[in-house]
Point group: C2
Chain length 361, copies 2
DNA sequence: TTGAAAGCGTTACCAT
DNA sequence: ATGGTAACGCTTTCAA
């Protein structure tokens, strides 16, 4: 019946699975169709419209692999989750950070590729990732002290932005960071001003650079007031609820317990709270707690109650910012390294908040 | 100077950027090298070893785009973040779920591609994603009532697994879900057994299927005890801390406040707690709170204190399971639809826990 | 056991 | 303004 359906109604095709079919249906060459679709100026406006319309009607959508092969661009950014053999290191902030970053990418038409990389053969894995051609740029998470990835990625010639910094690296590189040292110094000073002398620090894993900076700030504040740091009050591990609970309990059972706790994350602060309440003590009365998530700004999230927690949106903003920076570099690779130091703001309302209320001494 | 460097020291190349160069360095054809690297049986073992060694030495790594173009496989799985124009819907569980899933993918050598899709033109976006060839399979998150994506993806012929279910869909499809209805029914019954009659439900957005199921369970438990549900006590929105705080405060200010709150997420439960304490009431004494994250099992996370929270690892396990299922389907597309209903377990320790302690009546 | 050559779906260069 | 054709880097027949 429908013999020769090709010659007669060549534009009555159901679907165009590739450029060739679409071009045939239109009676145009692949070249022209490609140009029309990609907005090249040399194509007649009428043609462009007809091409667009037909492409839509035939449900055509380009093959990203082939596009990438031809252009050298992958239209995707890689985020790497470092995996230690011991612990999995799931960053509690991860979700919001990713949400912010990916919203930026999608604005530019980019995708986000998540890869887990074993820290053991990191070098090889990054090399493979870069040469696989799946990505155009990389976000480096959780930089360590003198992190070797920075020089590696530089030598590979791939655009990258580091979320955080790596102490001990002389080279220039792109980074976005929070002023961890300053904010922990200020938080410690705040507690000192309130009369506290036994201030505990529940820090993240101290091979991560941000944790080192936080400890520095804490130590500096103490030493400037002539207070000897007590190693009993300085604990460091993955920032889980369990960690906060365990260490706080241990410290409260000690001979000279802390009157304040500086917790490195919201999650561990929850554990701190639990330990305090278990002991029949009251938060903000018997023991003060200051939380610090890896954030841009500390905000009171309602008008009348000051709380010291990372707002979800601030983390998202950090993701967005890092991504935005990478986008500009990817699109214009010859820009010089840039960086942004986001000052942490401690917003303290009334001293009647639930966490931090008691003035000692 | 180094003219003809190609012919003389052909295997003294620094790096092989593609198969061609590697083959030249080895004095073999691309075909043989490809076969050697991909473990085809017809290649001599000595050759394979030599090829592997040289590939390593010359830092060769295959181009995934070209591989994908040639094989039709992308070695990547797509996760879609649905975006409503109004709110961004960042699932608090997202991070751990992704961590679990990606650990499964990496075990199989797959990557994970995150895409944001505007709910407005969902159909088109999914179609593009599939035909772009960037992915071999899709994880569907946050299914709605009679979710149209299921039939769409089926018709597109792409392997997919749904995290959750969609009520009203007759078709078979692959899914992994928690027994939301049953667990909320049991949680409600638990509170009823303790003598509570005014039980509030802080539910997630009720166009999401899981929230509907939870409400069903809550309602069924009430009706079986002959209790009329009070719409004043049933609130539904995105599960944020702010939501928990706002609604709880409103309810506690009402004429007939609840004596117990069933919160749909840990985050909103934190808000509930804050509202309770602001009012000078005590958790577990004046008001009981049961939290339910979207989890597999409810576990007491220490030996001596029962708490009703989602453990992070359980969410991770869910991600792993969903991914594992998709992997088997992707590798063997002709398997029949399968699904898994993960029973929620309520572990209740002593009734002396911080959240749920008071026996009324 | 090895190799030559034809795809895979695009884009980009060079004509016209 | 449009078309032919050669890349892009790999896998996979088909031959030898």
């Amino acid at each position: 019946m429908s013999f020769n359906s090709d010659a007669r109604g060549s534009n009555r095709l159901q679907n165009a699975k590739n450029l060739k079919q679409l071009a045939e249906a239109l009676g145009l060459s692949q070249t022209t169709v490609s140009r029309a679709l990609n907005g090249y100026p040399e194509v007649k406006e009428a043609t462009r419209l007809r091409v667009r319309e037909t492409a839509r009607r035939l449900n055509y959508s380009p093959n990203a692999r082939a596009q990438g092969l031809a252009t050298g661009r992958a239209m995707a950014i890689g985020h790497v989750i470092p995996v230690w053999s011991e612990h999995e290191m799931t960053n509690p902030i991860f979700g919001d950070f990713v949400a912010g970053a990916s919203s930026c990418y999608s604005k530019h038409g980019y995708d986000m590729v998540l890869t887990r990389i074993e820290v053991d053969d990191e070098e090889n894995a990054y090399r493979q990732l870069v040469f696989s051609g799946r990505i155009d740029g990389i976000i480096v998470q959780g930089p360590r002290l003198r992190d070797s990835r920075i020089s590696l990625l530089k030598s590979l010639g791939v655009p990258f932005v580091v979320h955080g910094r790596s102490s001990g690296i002389e080279d220039n590189y792109n980074w976005v960071d929070v002023n961890n040292k300053r904010s922990f110094k200020r938080a410690t000073e705040l507690l000192l001003d309130l009369g506290h002398r036994r201030i505990a620090l529940l820090n993240g894993l101290e091979y991560l650079d941000f944790a080192l900076r936080r400890r520095d700030g804490y130590m500096e504040a103490l030493s400037e007031r002539g207070i000897e740091p007590d190693l009993e009050l300085m604990r460091s591990a993955e920032m889980t609820e369990h960690f906060g609970h365990r260490e706080t309990r241990a410290m409260l059972q000690g001979t000279d317990p802390p009157t304040a706790v500086l917790a490195s994350s919201k999650l561990s602060a929850m554990g701190v709270r639990r330990a305090i309440e278990e002991r029949g003590l009251t938060m903000g009365h018997d023991v003060s707690v200051v939380t610090h998530d890896d954030v841009i700004s500390y905000l009171a999230d309602t008008d009348d109650v000051p709380v010291f927690t990372a707002t979800r949106s601030s983390v998202r903003d950090a993701g967005r910012l890092v991504a935005e920076m990478l986008m500009t570099i990817v699109k214009k690779p010859d820009v010089r390294p840039r960086n942004a130091l986001l000052e942490t703001e401690l917003v303290v309302g009334q001293s009647t908040g639930p966490c931090l209320s008691r003035r000692l001494g």
